[in-house]
């Protein structure tokens, strides 16, 4: 079911002639129960796919917002087993929304690559993104995930030239995650004009849909990217809502879902009145 769920969602988006909205949230931020409420609410708020971060003590590719989200989740006791439980609970109520786990290699190695792949498939995870596992190191993980029918989503970036793209997309499935700016999450702003040709290049090289993330914070920016990409990923701006809600003593899930809704609306409306790319 797993890879098929991603393919089906992108096929549906294509049929609708619009880009997808991918919401990234951190598992267990600020606690397991609230994170589950957020997860369950995201499809209704307009998320077409969900990326669920699993917290690691040393997230080297993240900017301050997601670093802090990971620290909140770890302080609240989140573990990889806890993340898988969240995924299971989400999947019990939603059979259609693709769920992608995103995080770092050490936790997967610690659990055991085969065990992790098996467990992820069992709880209804459709894909996995491992930030610090480039193709050169991915063979054992790719094999195990493939056997479990879970997609290993690859990343491409502004530093990926045509030769590198060939390496990146080899044997990939699901979609390709294009990192729109050289940098960490949630800091530099993505420029839609520079992103457009890059997305086209990645699409050509992979034959897969391209989701664009890093540096997309506002509905306006999300709409601009939605005009050129197959999906738009927003993470830091959502986890910042968790931080803000905690600080203001507001309802965390309500605040995050409100933000998700505004981003989803912008993405959905982006191509209205435009010829489909």
């Amino acid at each position: 079911m797993s890879k098929a769920r991603i393919d089906a969602r992108f096929a549906a988006l294509k049929a609708e002639g619009r880009a997808g909205f991918v919401a990234y949230v951190m598992a267990g931020d600020p606690d397991a129960a609230t994170a589950l409420a957020i997860l369950k609410g995201l499809p209704g708020a307009g998320a077409d796919l969900i990326e669920l971060g699993f917290p690691f003590s040393d997230p080297m590719a993240e900017g301050p917002p997601i670093q802090r989200a990971a620290q909140r989740a770890l302080a609240a006791g989140m573990t990889l087993s806890g993340v898988l439980e969240l995924a299971r609970a989400f999947r019990a109520g939603d059979a259609a929304t693709p769920l992608i786990l995103m995080g770092y290699m050490n936790l997967i190695l610690h659990r055991g690559i085969e065990t992790f792949a098996h467990d992820a498939a069992q709880v209804g995870v459709d894909g996995v993104i491992v930030v610090d596992c480039p193709p050169e190191e991915a063979a054992p993980l790719a094999k195990a995930l493939d056997a479990a029918d879970v997609a290993l989503i690859r990343l491409a970036s502004p530093t990926s030239d045509d030769e590198r793209l060939k390496v990146v997309v080899k044997g990939t499935s699901g979609f390709v995650y294009y990192i729109s700016v050289a940098g960490v999450t949630g800091v530099k702003e993505a420029d839609a004009a520079a992103v457009a040709p890059a997305v086209e290049r990645v699409r050509r090289a992979s034959g897969l849909p391209v989701a664009v993330g890093f540096g997309i914070k506002t509905p306006e920016r999300a709409a601009a990217i939605a005009r050129v990409a197959d999906a738009v990923v927003v993470g830091s701006a959502l986890v910042d809502e968790v931080a803000a809600a905690l600080e203001m003593n507001e309802d965390v899930s309500a605040r995050v879902l409100l933000k998700a809704e505004s981003l989803a609306k912008a993405v959905r409306a982006a191509r209205i009145g435009q010829t489909t790319v």
Partner: protein, 405 residues
Amino acid sequence: MTSLARPNDYTAYPDAEGRFGDYGGRYVPETLMPLVHELDAAYRAAKADAGFQAELGGYLKHYVGRPSPLYLAERLTAHYGGAKVYFKREELNHTGAHKINNCMGQILLAMRMGKTRIIAETGAGQHGVATATVCARFGLPCVVYMGEVDVARQEPNVFRMNLLGAEVRPVTSGSATLKDAMNEALRDWVTNVEDTYYLIGSAAGPHPYPEMVRDFQAVIGQEARAQVLEMEGRLPDAVVACVGGGSNAIGLFHPFLNDEGVKLIGVEAAGEGMQGRHAAAINGGRPGVLHGNKTYLLQDGEGQITEAHSISAGLDYPGIGPEHSWLHDVGRAKYLTATDQEALAAFQLCAELEGIIPALESSHAIARLPEIVAEVGKDGVVVLNLSGRGDKDVATVAAALGRKI
């Protein structure tokens, strides 16, 4: 899984993928992969270029002050009553430690690659000072990431870096120590991919760093091997060094790897003791992935990286270079531990008997000498890497001994 077969040629590693057995590799975000490949290609070219090696040799001689002496520590030898103890005097290098050997090599490589901005991470500040030094010498801007906690406890080194023209950026993320400084340096690198060279100070990080740093530090072992042959007419029975990330140790060990009769002994920091807080990745950790390489790491039951502790800031790191992990697994090198208290005692003993104030890092190696000289026996010869001088540590030691200075 790790291959436990002992190779015929230990110096043939890493392989083309940067692996020492199962360890090492390139676990970095995709954005950095092209840069890591570019660095690898540039390093291969430089390594094979006699002109580069000659230029480096010139700076090592005239600026760093190499070769460093091999010195027979007579009174310590008499004190222990076992094997002859020689010190490889890396503390006599410019900036007072072995760190500059690597910095000199990498800055020349950075300039060869046309990079115009240098970044580095530092814990105690020794690598930061060495990096700031070569940046000053060659006129390159330098940013050093340093955990906020370390900035507070190593103020003189922060000032030293500032004097040398470097900008020290305190790191507040995570636990605000060396591992977080390294995360932050990697974040800078991934953000400034065009002009920036990341000058890593330990034999760790993504390939080719562990190999490259080892090669630049191998001058320690090459000199020591030739010096001991000249002075004793034979190879030593054991060579000993402290191990944090492990650059001074691998630099000493590497030229002896195929001399199977020479015991290689690393000493990790046992901090408050192995049941308490410590920094002994091999003796108290498990293999995992951090900072671009697979290696032994301190981690909790869930795979989260845990804080290291050592009285010596230079050993205060939860990982170890991947080549050490491999040498441990195949049994070529042995890794012992020494506690804060043992290192403090060795620090004082060395000062009193030899008139040399050793770095607290090196004091960990000295602390294991009684067992090592006894094992090797009265006719034996031991070479210990005195990797740094202890002037930087006098405040720490005074505080630990309850003395106000």
